[in-house]
Symmetry: C2
Subunit: 383 residues, 2 copies
DNA sequence: CACTTTTAGGCAAGAGTCCTTACTAGAATG
DNA sequence: CATTCTAGTAAGGACTCTTGCCTAAAAGTG
């Protein structure tokens, strides 16, 4: 939707914009002289000098004490004030918690890894997250001003809580990252599921670089996908876009059934769980006997049905496949071969990044921290 | 994606913003005095006077000659110059072409309807469109500065051409609205399919008013849907989002098959065509005998499969159903009853607007025309 | 070593935009 | 006829950005 009422023009607005230009320059480059900022932004030197003076007085920018070397008059280097703080980045899976702190320059200030027992519940995960946040808070100059969390479960877009969907695995369990981090993190806590973060990372740098419309299919313990449309991961009303367990597809004997049902029928679920038995599945996909071939054919067709839905409802330029068993050798080519014979084929690729969810969450954290700093520099002039 | 480099601040930018405020005010209200514009925008009277003077000199705004009545000094009314032109709005179906001209105030300046033979090809449609545009161009003060076209076929997002998808009906046929309108319309031609326009109209004013995430399912001669996510119709890479003919769903005997196949198996297609035989289907849905019930059950389940895909990949807050046979009495309640027993039910509603595709295209045309006027008032200061 | 070149930064002047305040013109109200 | 109300104008001030010129200091050059 296009903004209907343009902003009211004012001189204050110009000043704010100048300051934003200066701050953004210093976010892209660790240290700059005023002349460099001027050259980089195209804004005149006196104006930049004014702005730097303002921002220095406000405590957002500091003279690093360093001086230019080389020809010409010595110049002073300025940089963002260290007390501007950092953002917490955390990834939570049933296997453990990984947490980092990143500053507005994108530098990582420390990483804490906590392994969890397979049977550990959400309580233990919450404690690990809390502890990690506490440790990281001590290692950075300023405060933790916001957090970006990746979770290996569906996330409610409104509340940020992990949600348990019927007949879908609940790997981490009932957890509210916002509540856990409230004492340690002073600002907003953004939570999304790992598949969405992975898709953002792949969009930025991976095989899908430059492609603004694609679907990322994650085939692991859980079944999920991310829909990137017009360059943004779409989350839908509740944030449950990509929860494809109940998507109607083709099962054994060409019967229509929910995607997750296919695995139940094939006996590929963990006992007393709706999670997929990944080791068994990987082992089976490695085999070449007749039974394995039959199962493989069923899986390929089931995945084809899911892709037909993705093509119909998201029209991706490509489909990226990732996940523990999605990357099994031969699977992608088999799916590709099947899918390329359907009426609307789309190229398939394998995911390339190693811990994509952390990468995706991290870059979002940097983005949010930067915009938070810019916003707080000039308290919002809202109506 | 967030803008990375904020705009360069300049005094010219302020002036541009003031002018934009004035223009937008005059787009929302047919005539205003300078004092009224000032009150409405919150910008001071002298500044508004300056801007109005500039815009009048530039020919964008005119003194209407009317004067205020009532207490106090008489004021002069200003309005947008009539020569600012209008936008063409056209809807093309196999049954005919409807075209209108709308100005920046949103007023419709004339409507031309041309009926087409059922067997008329794209040539005839193109001629009808061209003729309608020619007539409308004569009826308005200025030029036709852009066009917004709705077509009853899939539209390629990149080229704006109608495209024929395998095993899907091609109702209008091979047509390139941009090429047809190039002689008559001086600016851009936006083309999208009727279902997407209808969804935009429903989003704005209809049953889905205020809901930013929903899916609009169109059940007519063709099978289509629109995905509205974060308040915007998503089109995907090629613009083929919602082309659900090949979506894998449940057919008779619970067999997995493409949505369109279900109708083939049920014998509900027009002879030698992939289009659905709507009259036959409507007649059948009205019956109550055993065969009708059986077909109805199959259809309900097939639609349920499509909805499961929509829920998985779009997470709508609601599903709106429209189309010639989608609105048949009882169908929606039957689908609703079936769907509410699935693991992830979503409320269903019937579409409410009468010619939604035209309404949707019209409001977009007004929006685009307005932004075109604002942009041309101050030639883009791009790099 | 003296001189030129190069560069960061400061200062002053000027143009432009917006705002506030005060004022004028003209019409309705009582 | 005085009062009241309103649209528009004029003057002055505050503020921002830019241009152009200047200084200081380091590095190269002969």
């Amino acid at each position: 939707m296009v903004r209907m009422t343009p902003p009211k023009p004012s001189l204050e607005m110009l000043r704010t914009l100048t300051d934003e230009n200066v701050l953004r320059s210093l976010m892209a480059h660790p240290r700059l002289t005023r002349a460099e900022i001027s050259a980089r932004t195209g804004i005149s030197k006196p104006t930049i000098s004014d702005s730097v003076q303002r921002l220095t007085r406000a405590g957002l920018v500091v003279d690093t004490g360093e001086r230019t070397t080389g020809r010409g008059r010595v110049g002073s280097y300025y940089s963002l004030a260290p007390q501007l703080g950092a953002a917490l980045v955390a990834a939570i899976t049933p296997r453990g918690v990984v947490a980092e702190a990143v500053d507005a320059l994108g530098h990582v200030h420390g990483q804490v890894r906590t392994a969890l027992e397979a049977s550990a519940g959400p309580r233990v995960a919450a404690e690990a997250l809390d502890a990690a946040a506490g440790q990281l808070a001590g290692r950075i100059p300023g405060r933790l001003r916001l957090a970006v969390v990746s979770a290996a479960d569906p996330v409610d877009r409104g509340t940020g809580r992990l949600v348990h969907l019927p007949d879908a695995p609940f790997l981490v369990g009932d957890l509210d990252p916002s509540a856990v981090l409230a004492p340690t993190v002073s600002g907003p806590v953004l939570v999304d599921n790992d598949v969405n973060w992975a898709a953002r990372a792949e969009h930025r740098a991976g095989c899908a670089g430059g492609v603004d419309d694609f679907v990322y299919l994650h085939l692991g313990e859980g079944l999920g996908c991310a829909v990137v449309s017009d360059g943004v991961v779409r989350r839908g009303h509740r944030g449950l876009v990509g929860e494809i367990a109940h998507l109607c597809t083709a099962g054994p004997d060409g019967k229509a059934m929910a995607f997750t049902e296919v695995f139940a029928v094939l006996g590929l679920r963990r006992p007393a769980s709706t999670a997929i038995d990944v080791p068994a599945l990987v082992e089976l996909l490695a085999r070449r006997d007749e039974q394995a071939e039959r199962v493989r054919a069923v899986l390929v067709r089931a995945i084809g049905g899911v892709l037909s839905a993705a093509v119909s409802l998201a029209d991706p330029r490509m489909v990226v496949i990732g996940g523990e068993w999605g990357l099994c050798p031969g699977l992608i080519t088999a799916v590709d071969e099947h899918f390329s014979r359907t009426p609307r084929p789309v190229p398939l690729t394998a995911a390339v990044l190693s811990s994509p969810e952390l990468t995706g969450a991290r870059s979002r954290a940097v983005e949010e921290l930067r915009s938070l700093i810019v916003r707080t520099a000039h308290p919002a002039p809202q109506a």
